[in-house]
């Protein structure tokens, strides 16, 4: 193995690291997915199971990622090579590329949010007061749903360039500074919105729906699977991004306490968003459940925009909501771009060159999702489900290296929280994975009776198991072929100690 070279970046403070990992975790999964999932899964039981999922899915996976980053001072591909051997390099690279592929379409959402922020500040809500959902539907359809969505593409390019401008400034000057501003802002804005929303007549009905518990829901497998999926997709556990941020963590950084802070911070942001969106919809919409089931885009860009327009103080509410959504989405995009950059920097690229290459990749690959929503939907399914597999690879890697060994060598010595079971439950992760991943795979088969194996055209077979397997395999084959070359170049660790 080639000698590992040293030199690099570090977070200025523990607060900086915490703000950054919260920024990664808190995203659209909290603000527009969680309230919809609460509504779809009948409220309170789902939320209680989400808490359980934090302990059995999110915390152990975040610990695994963090320990890999801190121990090796290398990103995903390099860490798998160093800890498990050169033949595992392509597996680490696959994990990294899944997150980068996800970032390529996720940044499209950031562009949409920027467009709606601009609309709100240029008097759009006044027009909506007259036009209602007919107008918001038409504007949304023309903007993003009709290929080629050229205007959505322009906003997508702007979003990528904003993320790149932050990343190129480095860990302390860019990532840490941006998250220290954006993450407190998300919590404060949601708290202000919550105070305003619960003063609306009828808002309590939304809170009642959100927190009512029907004991029969605890016996429904679909509620459990939805809650574990929410924990996986919202907290960012097992995506490889915690791993990359811990490459820059101090030597004595507390892995267990940070994992706990990130997961519960993510849950608090989700609950705040739920207590804003559900009461607002129940207070303002004639048919609240129809609004909640109108999909992420329908809820946010069509229905909430319309509801805000018809409320006293609606301009301020809409502005606060979309600024919070923008901050949450941008902080997550930053993590995805940084993940790509750190992997390239481990291969010897400078930060500016790595940022340039990753930005170009995002612009090229993301363009298809920005221009055509059918491609966006396909990418969302393919790489969203693949993320669950990234979690599996991290759990296997932890078990292969030694769960006890990692606890004794890296987690326990620097932790104020000696709650060993929260780490060792990672041994059961493959079973959790099989249930959740299998459920998604099975569901996608039932959506396409007799055609589940088809994958082309992607827009027509957006959610088929066929398209998922083909895209995952294609990426795996490319990286497997490049394994030797990547392993040879991965020698530039961010050694600080």
């Amino acid at each position: 193995m080639a000698e590992i070279k040293q030199g690099g970046d570090q977070f200025a403070s523990r607060w900086g690291l915490i703000a950054t990992v919260l920024g990664m975790a808190v995203g659209t999964g909290n603000i527009w997915r969680f309230p919809r999932e609460v509504a779809s899964n009948n409220g309170g039981a789902f939320i209680l199971i989400c808490f359980l999922a934090l302990f059995f899915w999110a915390v152990p996976l975040i610990c695994a990622e963090s320990v890999f980053g801190k121990k090796t001072r290398m990103a995903n591909a390099g860490a798998f090579k160093v800890l498990l051997g050169e033949k595992w390099t392509w597996v680490g690279a696959w994990c990294a590329m899944v997150c980068v592929m996800l970032g390529c379409y996720y940044v499209v959402v950031l562009g949409w949010v920027m467009k709606y922020l601009s609309l709100i500040f240029t008097g759009f809500l006044t027009q909506v007061q007259a036009g209602g959902t007919d107008l918001t539907s038409e504007v949304w359809k023309n903007f993003a749903m009709t290929p080629p969505a050229v205007e959505a593409w322009v906003w997508f390019v702007a979003a990528v360039l904003i993320a790149a401008a932050i990343i190129v400034r480095g860990v302390q000057g860019g990532i840490e500074t941006a998250n220290k501003i954006m993450i407190p802002a998300v919590f404060i804005l949601l708290a202000i919105l919550l105070v305003r929303v619960i003063m609306l007549p009828g808002a309590w009905k939304g809170l009642e729906y959100m927190y009512h518990v029907e004991l029969v829901d605890f016996t429904r497998p679909s509620v459990w699977l939805a809650a574990f999926t929410q924990a996986a997709w919202s907290s960012g556990a097992g995506w490889g991004m915690f791993h990359v941020y811990f490459v820059y963590a101090a030597k004595d950084e507390d892995i267990m306490l940070n994992a706990f802070t990130a997961t519960f911070g993510d849950m608090v942001a989700a609950m705040l968003a739920g207590m804003v969106v559900l009461p607002a919809v129940f207070a303002l919409a004639p048919d609240p459940m129809a609004v909640m089931k109108s999909g992420a885009n329908g809820l946010t860009f069509v229905n909430l925009t319309n509801l805000f327009a018809h409320t006293t103080g609606g301009f301020v509410m809409a502005a606060l909501f979309f600024v919070a959504l923008f901050s949450a989405a941008l902080s997550s995009v930053i993590a995805m771009v940084e993940l790509g950059c750190r992997n390239l920097m481990d291969m010897g690229f400078s930060r500016p060159k790595a940022t340039g290459l990753v930005t170009a990749f995002f612009l090229i690959v993301g363009t298809w999702s920005a221009l055509d929503n059918g491609i966006f939907e396909n990418q969302d399914m393919v790489w969203g489900v693949a993320l669950l597999m990234v979690g599996l690879f991290y759990s296997i890697a932890a078990m292969k290296y030694g769960v006890e060994k990692l606890w004794k060598e890296d987690i326990a010595p620097c932790s104020d929280m000696h709650v060993k079971w929260m780490w060792t439950v990672i041994k059961f992760f493959p079973v959790e994975f099989a249930l959740v991943w299998g459920w998604w795979f099975y569901q996608s088969m039932t959506w396409y009776p007799g055609e589940w194996f088809k994958f082309w055209p992607l827009q027509k077979y957006a959610y088929t198991p066929g398209s998922m397997v083909v895209e995952w395999t294609l990426l795996a084959v490319i990286l497997f072929v490049l394994n030797g070359a990547m392993a040879k170049k991965l020698v530039h660790a961010n050694k600080l100690d």
Partner: protein, 33 residues
């Protein structure tokens, strides 16, 4: 019933998050001496 669940969820979620932030703050103070 739903009010009780709301109180429990808020207490557990916000309580655990607040507790973790407090532990972090204490550790940071200790580190700086």
């Amino acid at each position: 019933m739903w009010q009780l669940n709301m109180v429990v969820c808020i207490a557990v979620g916000f309580g655990a998050f607040g507790w973790a932030l407090k532990r972090t703050m204490d550790a940071e103070k200790k580190k700086k001496g």
